[in-house]
Symmetry: C2
Subunit: 558 residues, 2 copies
């Protein structure tokens, strides 16, 4: 194993350095180019995915299951994938995880980090297969499927491994403590262990099945905790492939593959609560809606890491080029049909309009410009379908179609989008509503999907006050602000920082408020109701283990 540790040491050292520099760093290339991944990589990945349809997923090393279960549908085809995964009763999963704990916790942090990095190398070989698996479970477009579920997820996993490795080696394994007592010294030999907390459970979501799952999964693993991965029943395949790669490495090193288990619901039995409530489960990572998230956060005796939902705001005050701003924002609301946790929802615009290059542009003009930009993007056949992707669940589509805001004004109705490849794709273009700032109840909850709310405020001060209040009370994961006024900018930073919300200022061109870079942007701050954890700050890893010290008089005292 020493060889493996040495092999990955420079990757880990570089990753730790990147974590603290927080400038651009990516270990896994995000470009699905044949020049990088090989001329056949895409084709082979697609074929591998296609071959899995209507089959049992037999790649895992968890032994013979008691049943096979699978409920995935492709949002592009609106028909079942037909893949069945091994089902094990919660108690079996827990027992196996507890057994595997004894072995895994005794592996040194450096070795665990190396083995897990090796598993990411295996994952890299399957980025294209994961990409197609992601498309046909989440409805993401091809490029996002590749990047988010492949290299970006792998980088977030490496980030968690690096942070976990760093934190576990930040204090010495042993030292000699020698206290001068005047006439003599008291000398103690001291040692410390970073003791893992126990079985980890990672609960995935339907829209980002690897990106949102691997940070908690690898953070728990690197700190010595066995994990049970419970994906959303509609998005299992992408993470199943990652789990298979981890199990492969574990087995190759003679370790119990049950250190990392896949857990799926049976057709007639949901197992997540059983797993959550098992006394053996000490750590829970959760991504998903507020209702279940609040349940998870309320469980006693567990260390819990959540990413729930929030309402993200855009504050429009002033800018240099309103067309560029409108295009940037239209892209942000359209990207994956607003199904990103970082997608903006609430656009605060003063009734007095927006200052552009020092000149006032009336409110209604700004609104119409945003609507035109959204329509232009959705109706551009070369861009629209590739930006919007498909809508993951029928419930999201129904929300867009049936939305009627009490007292709101419809600015833009949702429309149809034709996907050139998948005629049956579940799609629609974004809808836009205007609500008055006084109708807080209309815009204070997340309306997941391609829905944009324009909130007419008295002035920028009211915009800031409301955006900060929403973030504090209902959570927010991102915020975009456009202002050329330094004082306003500082005020937004100050008020949004107290609301635990990162702010992107004045984005135009090829960078969007939804985007979030591993090794640089902390994802979710943990500082508002949208979630209590952050990818990957030190807290995300150190809460998974306990420092315990031992001491004994040294043989020779001074």
């Amino acid at each position: 194993m020493t060889e493996t540790t040495q092999k990955h040491q420079s990757t880990l050292d570089t990753a730790i350095k990147a974590l603290h520099g927080r400038t651009f760093f990516a270990h896994f290339p995000e470009n699905p180019s044949p020049d990088i991944y090989g001329p056949d990589a895409d084709r082979l990945g697609r074929e591998a995915f296609e071959a899995r349809r209507n089959q049992h997923y037999t790649e895992l090393l968890q032994g013979e299951p008691e049943a096979w279960a699978g409920q995935e549908d492709s949002p592009y085809e609106q028909q079942p994938l037909g893949i069945k995964y091994p089902y094990f009763a919660p108690q079996i999963l827990i027992e196996r995880a507890e057994k595997a704990f004894g072995e895994w916790r005794k592996i040194k942090p450096a070795q665990r980090a190396a083995l897990l990095t090796e598993a990411l190398d295996g994952m890299k070989e399957r980025f294209f297969e994961i990409a197609y698996a992601t498309m046909h479970t989440t409805g993401q477009a091809y490029m996002m499927s590749f990047q988010a579920s492949g290299p970006h997820a792998a980088d977030r996993a490496l980030e968690a491994i690096a942070a976990g490795y760093e934190e576990q080696t930040r204090f010495p394994e042993e030292t000699t403590w020698e206290k001068p007592m005047g006439k003599y010294n008291i000398t103690l030999q001291k040692t410390w262990r970073a003791v893992p907390k126990g079985v980890g459970l990672v609960i995935g979501c339907s829209t980002f099945p690897t990106w949102n799952t691997v940070p908690g999964m690898f953070a728990s693993l690197v700190t010595g905790n066995p994990v049970i991965i419970k994906p959303h029943p509609k998005a299992v395949l992408p993470i199943a492939i990652v789990i298979a790669e981890v199990q492969k490495v574990l087995a190759a090193y003679g370790l119990d593959p049950n250190i990392c288990q896949l857990a799926v619901d049976a057709e007639d039995r949901l197992i997540t609560k059983d797993l959550c409530e098992s006394p053996a489960v000490k750590l829970i990572d959760y991504t998903g809606g507020n209702q279940f998230g609040d349940y998870v956060e309320g469980l006693k005796g567990k260390t819990v890491f959540t990413e729930k939902t929030g309402v993200n705001s855009i504050i429009l005050d002033s800018c240099d080029d309103l067309d560029k701003v409108a295009q940037n924002l239209a892209f942000s609301v359209s990207l994956y049909s607003g199904q990103m946790c970082t997608a903006p929802q609430n656009f605060f615009i003063p009734e007095t309009g927006v200052t552009v290059n020092g000149e006032p542009v009336p409110y209604e003009d700004v609104v119409q410009k945003l609507a035109a930009a959204v329509t232009g993007l959705a109706q551009n056949p070369k861009a629209g379908p590739h930006v919007l992707g498909a809508i993951q669940s029928p419930a999201t589509q129904a929300r867009v179609e049936q939305l009627a805001l009490n007292g709101g004004r419809s600015i833009l109705a949702h429309g149809t989008v034709n996907n050139p490849t998948f005629q049956n794709a579940r799609t629609c273009s974004p809808s836009i509503y205007e609500v008055q700032s006084s109708q807080v109840e209309q815009y204070s909850q997340e309306l997941f999907g391609p829905i944009m709310l324009i909130i007419k405020t008295k002035d920028t001060q009211e915009s800031i006050r409301l955006a900060a209040q929403l973030a504090r009370e209902h959570g927010a994961i991102s915020c975009g602000a456009y202002t050329t006024d330094q004082e306003i900018k500082e005020q937004i930073m100050d008020e949004m920082s107290l609301a635990g919300t990162p702010v992107s200022f004045n984005l135009t061109g090829g960078i969007y408020v939804n985007q979030n870079a591993g090794f640089s942007d902390f994802h979710v701050t943990g500082g508002n109701p949208a979630g209590n954890a952050s990818f990957t700050n030190p807290e995300f890893v150190i809460k998974r283990f306990t420092w315990v010290g031992f001491r004994e008089p040294a043989q020779a005292t001074g």
Copy 2:
């Protein structure tokens, strides 16, 4: 303020280095010698304390109070001190803290760290006054009062300042993020802020009024949170002096002294729950009993740090010199009459006895040797009173006097101890009971005070199993083990580490299981029910602030 920052930088750098080296380090000398603190320091400190009796405590800078309140009694004199402290209604304290927050959070971490270190220098000037204040509120003997409430507490405070400063400066304040996109680069200017969470509340205990209070107090302060200190009503003076020193520094630098406020109960109104439940209070540090501790841990929307109670075990398996072991343990149970959270309570001894130098010593002989050592220490007029000190509360004394364990055997009854200086001191010598290992309910709770339980086990395996089970289920803060067998030692380390309990092996001579060194021993691990926090691991400080990032396109893009 730059000058102040520079003045304390080397102290902070040295402290951070010590935190990571974890070898012996003390910034504040623990020896109350005239050579160190000056020939008049002790006398002046005593006079300062004496002058406070039956007076209003007017040193704080919190303005005119609505009432004056004080309930302290000296355990040595068993009569009131008569000192009255300014009383403010909880809502006033909260409002003032919220107002002070706006100012304090904008001070840079390095400046906050410097100001707080300066306050510790002020505290050092008053170590002797604090020592007498501690004696006459807690009942600690002079030496412990000086060391625990003075230099040791100040070192724990410095530890928290250093850790907080380090964690807040571990990520850059700003960086340029430049992502190569092939034909061009995207360049963002990024900044990050460590955003304090809000008003902190620190709830103190009656036995260690500064030592257990200053870590949370200074950890919250260094991370930018204003604090309200709510001491135990029976032990206010020692921490009031520390608060006065902090306020003095704040005022000297033109800052609001309400950044750090003293809060006391009125005679007829307990305010702790009002403070706990205020929505403005985001951080709570608590030291004390389980019942209130569980209430604090159960509060929603707060970040809580607790040290509650546990049952500490001694495992006797084998040793080289039983007399030395017995003397060491007798000292540990007697030190401050068992009123330390690290004091051992449960002594697990196999019915087959203990192996001494390879020879078996029968169980009963071991028990009698321990009893004899306890009696010998208590009855030694030159040692007993100075080790035992006085008993802080009448309830503790009553517990010792009235203890009757169902099915237990009294090995040694409590006795009287004559204090040469204070004839009215509330004292008694330790009592020893024997209980069977099967009677878990008799020894699974903390019996605070000078009470030692000997638990007769089948063998060392049962001793280990029970000690680990008690720690897991009821909490433990320390554990002592005596074994010359390497395998047993490794087993104890493994099982107690899973129970989040540090272990001291084979202590004899002048070092005791109760003792706990700043900058080296993590105090409480946070890994069992005895408390969820640890002095001072990174978690103790990073949970007090949130990392929030900001980004904006750079002016010049590549």
